[in-house]
Amino acid sequence: MRLYATARTAFRALRRNPMRAMLTTLGIVIGVGAVIAMMEIGAGSSATLKKTIASMGANVLVIQPGTASSGGVSFGAGSTTTLTPEDSQAILRECPAIRNATPMVRARTQVVYGNRNWVPNAIYGTTPAYLEVQNWSILAEGEPFSERDVLNGNRVCILGQTLVRELFEGASPLGKDIRIKNIAFRVIGVLTPKGANMMGFDQDDVILAPWTTIKYRVTGASLSTSNQSTDATASTSVNTLSNLYPATHGTLYPEQSAAQQADNPMPVRFANIDSIMAAANNSGEISMAIEQITGVLRERHRIRGDDPDDFNIRNMAELTKTLSTTTTLMTNLLLAVAMISLVVGGVGIMNIMLVSVTERTREIGLRMAVGARGRDILRQFLVEAVVLCLTGGAMGIILGHGGSLLVKFLLHWPVETSPAAIAAAVLVSAGVGIIFGFYPAWKASRLDPIEALRYE
């Protein structure tokens, strides 16, 4: 007996009692509908959650120069001067798992506006890409500086909220000039508030400026990393105590004469930077990104074979873990609820199929008398249950999708259509039909034709 004919027979059998068929599938309709709606709403929430956690920097990798050591004394991460802005560009260009990368120069010094001053947590010299890497592209006011500002070393900056509060007492700083180490910077943008990060570091206590400006004008050293502890902490020319407590140190080595310099030319290195910040495409590709960056940098830095890296890469492993745990938890929760409703629906199907088998005992007997084998009967009832479940599943998909759309438009919850959930719902409802339809169908196929024919 062909499947098509069986399906037709099943449809015909169900059409004989449409009301009961409807009520039977109601369990599956509600179950699948709930699954679809929950999956779509859940996927929306999960996506939002992911975005939120990603904005905390889950995808961000920080590449720092490696450690320098002298006579067995290590100076800690970042103490060599091996990273260049070109490394940053190379990473962006050659690592497919990297979405964006930006060079970073860090300074920590006094900032003055009018009669107020403040030492921000960090003054970052960077490129506009920094905002994208940190998911911080939307500014509260003004606009970000441009690549041209970076190339020209323009004195422009973007302020964090804490600085706006401390220097401007909440007034708009746009177009005003602040002084960093006696260099005037025009404020062209204000960052949106971000609050403290996981370590309690106030992320709003920050100034962003082109890295060229910070490097060459503020820290004023092109060949050494700006080690904040040794650097000037205030604008020396203003600080009247600077003679008593000099912030600059004496030179360790005697100055070279012009002839000496000509004899021993330093290798030409135009700039080195403190670190590179890169963003992976998504949290799943972080380990791949680390591998690719390592490859690129080892090649660029000409590190041979087994020699150790002259840089190290940090990621936000904790955040990434939180992200994946949260997502898995959400999915599992939804799955559990979905399973329960589908099992309830399946039991309903089994119940009605059992009733149907009893009710149609004579029909089964007759079919056997005219030549139906046990497996024909089994197949007929199985197909009937599956048809019932699939019809219910289709209705459930429509219901669930409609419900989630309703939620989207009425409650403005984030909703994401999930084709995977729809495919799963179809498969699961067919599966429920087979699993819960099997026992009644098996019972029907084991009937004795003589007794079935005599059944009243």
Binding site: G365, M368, V370, G371, R373, G374
Partner: protein, 242 residues
């Protein structure tokens, strides 16, 4: 050549510890084209014999040859195929599928046939069958819209859809009034004479048995009397003495 041959068929039902013999060694031969009535009081074993003849049940002992094939040892699937191809059944209570049109009722056995006729062919054959039993204008009617006689004729069309050589009728007129009973019996006679279909009727109604060419009376699991059609010259092969 005999179409059906039974050799000392026995059937015993096991009721807990007690064995209840229902058929006690039945031997019987039925030729192609016979119109035969199986009569006897209730409990005589005629229904059990009918079930064995109809391959719905297996004998406890003995041999059953149908169309030169030993049937009693076949598996249930093989017997189902055999029923589909070689046997037709007509029941007292018609056993038509409710809320299913006459033509679909008639075509139903075809869906279990190995040949796998297409939907169109199956309906065409069903329509021909219905026309043969005089219901050409009732193809789309549901059983509830048909009279008892018409329903029984739909059942006969269904039994004949696979052109079986043997037709079993279990009290075919039990639910019909005398006029429609007569119609149905005449149809059996016509099928028997015109198409040569062997018909075996189970009945306790002597009027129905009167239409048969051969009447077998059963009592208590043995054949009491076998009024063989005149001229055959065969004696009672039954195990019981009259």
């Amino acid at each position: 050549m005999e179409l059906i041959e039974l050799r000392s068929i026995e059937k015993t039902y096991q009721m807990g510890d007690i064995a209840v013999p229902v058929l006690k060694g039945i031997s019987l031969a039925i030729r192609q084209g016979e119109l035969l009535a199986l009569t006897g009081s209730s409990g005589s074993g005629k229904s059990t014999l009918m079930n064995i003849l109809g391959c719905l049940d297996r004998p406890s002992a003995g041999e059953y040859w149908l169309d030169n094939q030993e049937i009693s040892k076949l598996s249930s699937d093989e017997r189902a195929m055999l029923r589909n191809r070689k046997l037709g059944f007509v029941f007292q209570s018609f056993n038509l599928l409710a809320r299913t049109s006459a033509i679909d009722n008639v075509a139903m056995p075809l869906s279990y046939t190995a040949e796998n006729l297409s939907e169109r062919e199956a309906r065409k054959r069903a329509a021909e069958m219905l026309a043969r039993v005089g219901l050409a204008d009732r193809l789309g009617h549901y059983p509830s819209q048909l009279s008892g006689g018409q329903q029984q004729r739909v059942a006969i069309a269904r039994a004949l859809i696979n052109r079986p050589p043997v037709l079993f009728a279990d009290e075919p007129t039990g639910n019909l009034d005398s006029k429609t009973s007569e119609e149905v019996l005449q149809m059996f006679e016509r099928l028997n004479t015109e198409d040569g279909i062997t018909i075996i009727m189970v009945t306790h109604d002597p009027k129905v048995a009167g239409h048969a060419k051969r009447v077998i009376r059963m009592d208590d699991g043995v054949i009491l009397a076998d009024a063989a059609p005149a001229g055959s010259g065969r004696e009672t092969p039954g195990g019981g003495a009259p």
